[in-house]
């Protein structure tokens, strides 16, 4: 907007180190009243660290933060809130078992107050939610809310504290395109009401659409600051990555026979996580099937069924023409299903095991790693050394504990572990979450290579762009139901968004592609 408006926030030469890693290197940035500044950068560029320093989550090693001309005490979220700075974290900071009202009221009243003024709080929430178009039921338990609603609660929490500066950390990562549009509507209402906004993102089209100014971070340094009107996506992309990273060329698929099919598969709900509801799906050799959807809509159940963790309660699972009656993780591995799990830290690896041990987690009980009941460490070492070389795993050596590796290198080891066995089916669940662009491109090219070797690939991702780029066939999952398959290039993001919101299913009876 106008650069001669009052400066509401100034970051002055902020430096923060985590061990040897310099997460923020002397970053200075200012924000004017009524302005939206986009903070752009790859994962690990230091965006979230910088905002956590501003909001008092971390303490900077040097540098200062000034809000409305006043220097904030470091590491003090309360002072930041009192000065008018609110933050909507990427991982929501909400207590699931408390109500919306309780989450908003937390800390809003002095601790010395004898009574919690529920009535007044309720009324103020109502007024705010009308004013900013943030519909939510104050008496609902947060655990029962959808992700989009939870984000509204997070924003209301900040607005309730009368913040003047709102920081949003990757706010659209978990939203459908329609919900993202609603969010942008709310933010422009906020600007009209005198808010100033810092918007953290790595999605270029959003940055172009919503911001007045862009600040680009790379490897902890502020590499560019420019008016949005003076730049374009290509220029920003080059700034963000340093060099113009090349995403893999995508050739057309040449689908073969069906390797695995789900026929009217139903699984029970587990807690808040919905099961599958009469899902039919075919995975064909030489084809990538993409699964789009907002997280928590049955992706976990589908991945569990394919990966051998769950048996359908109804319906059939047919592998290579044979209906399965016994199904387990071990059976899945033995039948050539490569599993790249959603959470590489918790289920993909064992943090305190070394690379060698992690590399044979799936195959330890079979040859060549098992000889007469004894582990052959020689063969295991050979295997992991080959993976390290072939998949370019950057590490001090095979004896390194895997927790010391970056996410990208960890994922490369997992890729090597499962792809070296030349699997017939690849289950890739959020394969690039949290990786930088270089690693993303590498993982994608490996998935494409597996496809071209004749493997059937199931790609599950919350990133719609990723699903649309890679998939030959796209299904949308919502509330445990699966849409028909859409061929590459036949759907727009908005059209998929309608299905992601669960609306397409009622218009037509879903049928298997």
């Amino acid at each position: 907007m106008t650069s001669n408006a009052e400066i509401v926030l100034r970051l002055d030469a902020i430096t923060k180190r985590f061990g040897k890693l310099v997460a923020n290197d002397a970053i200075s940035l200012s924000l004017h009243r009524g302005e939206v500044v986009a903070l752009l950068g790859e994962n690990g560029a230091g965006k979230t660290t910088l905002m956590n320093i501003l909001f008092g989550g971390y303490t900077a090693d040097s540098g200062s933060v000034q809000v409305f001309g006043q220097t904030l005490p470091p590491g003090n979220s309360r002072a930041a809130l009192d000065a008018g700075v609110g933050m909507v974290h990427q991982h929501f900071t909400l207590a699931d078992n408390l109500t919306v009202l309780e989450n908003i009221a937390l800390g809003a009243q002095p601790m010395t107050d004898v009574r919690l003024s529920k009535k007044e709080i309720y009324n103020k929430i109502k007024i705010l939610s009308d004013e900013f178009n943030l519909k939510v039921d104050p008496s609902a338990r947060v655990g029962s809310l959808a992700v989009g609603e939870r984000q509204r609660v997070e924003i209301l929490k900040a607005l309730y504290r009368d913040v003047k500066i709102l920081i949003l950390d990757e706010p659209t990562a978990v939203l459908t395109p329609q919900e993202a549009d609603d969010l942008f509507g709310t933010l422009s209402l906020g600007i009209k009401n005198g808010l100033s906004i810092i918007f953290i993102s790595h999605k270029l089209h959003e940055v172009m659409a919503i911001s007045n100014r862009v600040a680009v971070l790379r490897h902890g340094k502020l590499v560019a600051e420019t008016l949005t009107a003076d730049t374009d996506k290509n220029a920003l992309s080059a700034l963000m990555m340093g060099t113009a990273a090349k995403s893999p060329d995508i050739t057309l698929a040449n689908p073969g026979k069906t390797l695995l099919s789900l026929q009217d598969v139903t699984t029970p709900d587990i807690g808040n996580s919905p099961g599958l509801k009469s899902v039919s799906l075919e995975l064909k050799a030489g084809q990538i099937v993409g699964l789009a959807g907002v997280s928590g809509n049955g992706q976990a159940a589908l991945a569990d069924v394919v990966g051998g963790m769950r048996m359908p309660s109804q319906g059939a699972l047919v592998l290579n023409g044979k209906t399965l009656t016994q199904w387990s993780p071990r059976a899945a591995v033995q039948n050539g299903i490569a599993r790249i799990p959603e959470d590489r830290h918790k289920t993909g690896t064992i943090a305190d095991f070394d690379l060698t041990e992690n590399a044979i987690l799936e195959g330890y009980s079979t040859a060549p790693f098992s000889k007469g009941g004894w582990i052959s460490w020689k063969n295991a070492k050979q295997f992991v050394t080959d993976i390290i070389e072939k998949y370019d795993v950057r590490c001090p050596g095979p004896d390194t504990r895997i927790r010391l590796l970056s996410g990208g290198n960890m994922q490369k080891l997992i890729l090597g572990r499962v792809l070296e066995a030349d699997p017939q089916i690849v289950l890739a669940n959020q394969p690039v979450r949290g990786l930088d662009i270089g690693a993303v491109n590498y993982v994608h090219s490996q998935l494409l290579a597996a496809r071209d070797r004749g493997a059937a690939v199931l790609l599950i991702s919350e990133d719609l762009d990723e699903v649309m780029d890679l998939s030959d066939v796209i299904h949308v999952i919502a509330g445990g139901r699966l849409s028909p398959g859409f061929a590459r290039g036949t759907m727009t993001p908005a059209e998929l968004g309608i299905w992601m919101a669960g609306q397409g299913f009622d218009a037509q009876v879903a049928h298997a592609s």
Partner: protein
Amino acid sequence: MEILDILISASFWAAAIRIATPLILATMGELICERAGVLNLGIEGIMVAGAFAGWMAVYSGTGLWVGVAVAMVVGMGFGLLHSVLTVPFGLSQHVVGLGVTLLATSSTYYAYRLALPQVNSPPKIDAFQPYEIPLLSDIPLLGQALFSQTPFTYLAFALVAATSVMLYRTPVGLAVRAAGESPAAVAAQGLSVTAIRMGAVIVGSGFMAMGGAFLTMSAFDSFFFEMVNGRGWICIALVVFGSWMPGKALLGAVLFAAFDALQIRVQQTGFGADIPYQIFLMAPYILSIVALVLVSRRAQVPAALMVPFNKGER
């Protein structure tokens, strides 16, 4: 038939409430700790220390209520130790809790021997006496059971009400509950998780010590080794039984105490003469386990119970 007679007798229920009182106090203490996200296994030892401290204070010449206060302060001291180790240092709550129990128990016995080196049977104090509340104590059955107890028991019931009001009606209570559900949410709202959790553990430990003090200052009038006798562990189970809610935990304590009172009385009937007495001693625990399984299957555990919180950790 005999059991029915017992169940409708006022003296049976009066005994049940008396037996329940130390459990109620200590259970409230544990409940506050756990609601803030800290499991306090120091409870057994803190009750021992409280039992000794209150009794010793009165034996040394203070008034009864001062004795209660002394017990509470001693309990809070052990609570401070527990909370420093588990909250800012984030050490294992199991190990610290058991350590505090061992430390509190053995240092209490040591203090007893230091204070009374030559004594074979411990001296008695003038303990709390029952106080019949005018009018209310005239209600049939209920009056005898509830309103003819010692003032210490009335205090225990008042503390249950106070705990309930605190947790659900005050900003502090909301902060305590939130600290047990999502410390990140507490920190994001500018509150100190460390302060809230330490405060909860210290206050809760004070309640536990009062539970112990009831044994020496109201139920009995003297201090014996082993007199707490696992009551602290029962309270841990009662918190689960009560689904972390003060009212339900109170009911659980009374229920357990009723089983306990019942087995003593059944032993004295003809029915009891043919059965080994150990069976009766076991009964309240078995019945409690059954009740625990039935009631607590759908209990809502505080989501961040036993999860340490370190601000600024990556």
